[in-house]
Point group: C2
């Protein structure tokens, strides 16, 4: 094909940290074209892309519908970069229109239910939804599956960080007297984590009272937690994250098989990139008639990569 960039048309829904990272990854992909970016809120100043469509009426659906209908060529895949709790709503509407979606839905306990619901919509409408395709859940899940296949008996420990926990940060911010907060996850091994909670106090708030409230919160009560007052949480801002995933297991009857996967990464950049690579897999699976909702452990690694099977087998196997 003479214009590789136009092979796969990708749109981005939601233009936060991950949406912006995904935009960079789409632009860097040799076989993808950015079809549009869709966002609804009042942060117009954050957006400087001529393909960006803004809605203040909270109704992306109509914008998406009109854009996708009017386009000279249909959008192949929409990257759903909304907050995780809004993923199902948008992915369902898109899948029902036969448009593939990719999300990085990250509530581990609800992944199977999302997969079940979206799978039915995809099967009925000949679309593909790749769900939970960030790094955890996502590529870490693929590594865990691979290590399980290499040593079926044993224990895998996923140690996160050092890096910001979104859930714990939100929980700390909700405590009375906290103006701003950052909860860092520090790995202590065997899946045990320390929480380092940096807080800016509201005027007049008492540190000891706030600290006690944080330590009593269910998010923090079960882990070693340290609360530290700082002048500026913003001054600590850093999207670095990481993982140390270890398994010791048994292959056949042979014990003491040891495996380790480490990474130190920019969190939104990696998440956006993985979603873009998963969009390629969704496009190819739809072309082969493999409809449905899938998690990343259900994808072929080669489908994530540009290039032909021959090129990738020769370069990577």
């Amino acid at each position: 094909m003479s214009n590789l960039k136009s092979q796969i048309r990708v749109a981005i829904l939601g233009y936060g940290n991950i949406g912006r990272a995904a935009e960079e990854a789409v632009k860097a992909a040799p076989d993808m074209e950015l079809a549009g970016i869709y966002h609804h809120d009042d942060c117009l100043d954050k957006i400087s892309n001529d393909k960006c469509q803004i809605s203040n009426d909270n109704s992306q659906f109509s914008i998406l519908n009109s854009q996708f209908s009017n386009a000279e060529r249909p959008v192949d895949v929409v990257l759903v970069c909304t907050p995780t709790r809004e993923v199902q709503k948008f992915a369902t509407v898109l899948a029902a229109r036969g448009i593939c979606t990719v999300d990085s839905f990250d509530i581990h306990g609800q992944i199977w239910s999302l997969r079940t619901a979206l799978d039915a919509v995809c099967q009925a409408n000949q679309s593909v939804s790749i769900i939970s395709s960030g790094w955890d859940p996502g590529t870490d899940s693929m590594v865990r599956a691979l290590l399980q296949a290499m040593a079926p008996k044993g224990l895998t420990y996923t140690n996160f960080g050092p890096g910001r926990s979104m859930g714990h940060t939100v929980a700390a911010k909700a405590i009375q007297g906290v103006k701003n907060a950052l909860s860092m996850t520090i790995p202590l091994g065997t899946g045990i984590h320390r929480r380092m909670v940096y807080i800016e106090l509201e005027d007049g708030a008492d540190f000891k009272t706030v600290e006690a409230a944080i330590l009593a919160d269910d998010y923090f009560a079960h882990d070693e937690t340290h609360v530290i007052a700082v002048e500026s949480v913003d001054a600590l801002n850093n999207v670095a994250h990481g993982v140390n995933l270890v398994r010791s297991g048994v292959s056949g009857e042979t014990h003491n098989q040891r495996f380790e996967f480490n990474m130190e990464i920019n969190n939104p950049a990696l998440t956006g990139q993985i979603m873009v690579s998963a969009a390629r897999a969704a496009f190819r699976m739809k072309a082969r008639g493999e409809f449905g909702a899938k998690t990343m452990i259900e994808l072929r690694p080669i489908d994530l990569l540009p290039g032909t099977i021959e090129q990738n087998v020769k370069a990577l196997v």
Copy 2:
């Protein structure tokens, strides 16, 4: 199903280090039954399995044919654990009979040609051959593909060892004056390796002459190589091996994304286990009508694992 062990009937062809390890992994698999072991040579004493069929006439084909025809239930997958240069011969005959095969063919430069040849046979006879499914090529290839998808620009270095190199050991043994040899691969980083060659000299052989011949051999001439005379190579025997696979790359426009995969393993035990896990994938792919020859980067990780999609998604994603 009441008897999970009988879901997949697996036979082993070739009863060397890997065949024996594969036997243990089949027996440990909750969904596999050992259908038979086929071997031809005179090392009867190595074999203590009542399912083992021995041929001294170098014609496994006839044994395989009669066994598979007479069996109450057909063999689903044959693990081809022969020397790598004999893989294509056996896999071709089996695939032509509609029987799935798995091998750990490890000559990197010839993998695409093996895949092309076997793919045609598999497509024509509705079988599946999973090729080069050891750890490198194999699971390392899957990790390389995954890291490429996570950070498309950058460099991956695969550092092997410390562990025995089969190819270099054979090359050292072929030098005149060498009675027995062991060539260890020592990783020096960035894909550069040292060769530690331990040799037992023939009676009357001159160490300096043998050392010079080894250093001049094309297998050793390009790497830092040390030759050491020992009383007994057998006393050094150890099937430990390992890998340190590192990538620093770019996700989207974000540089300095760092990844590392390490393992320290029993080599034949891991290879046998990976072949058994790949046999499960072959069985499932055939059941879905996905015929052909595939490398491991073309497999879904979930297909390597026993259990349902729901069980594995809930446990691993």
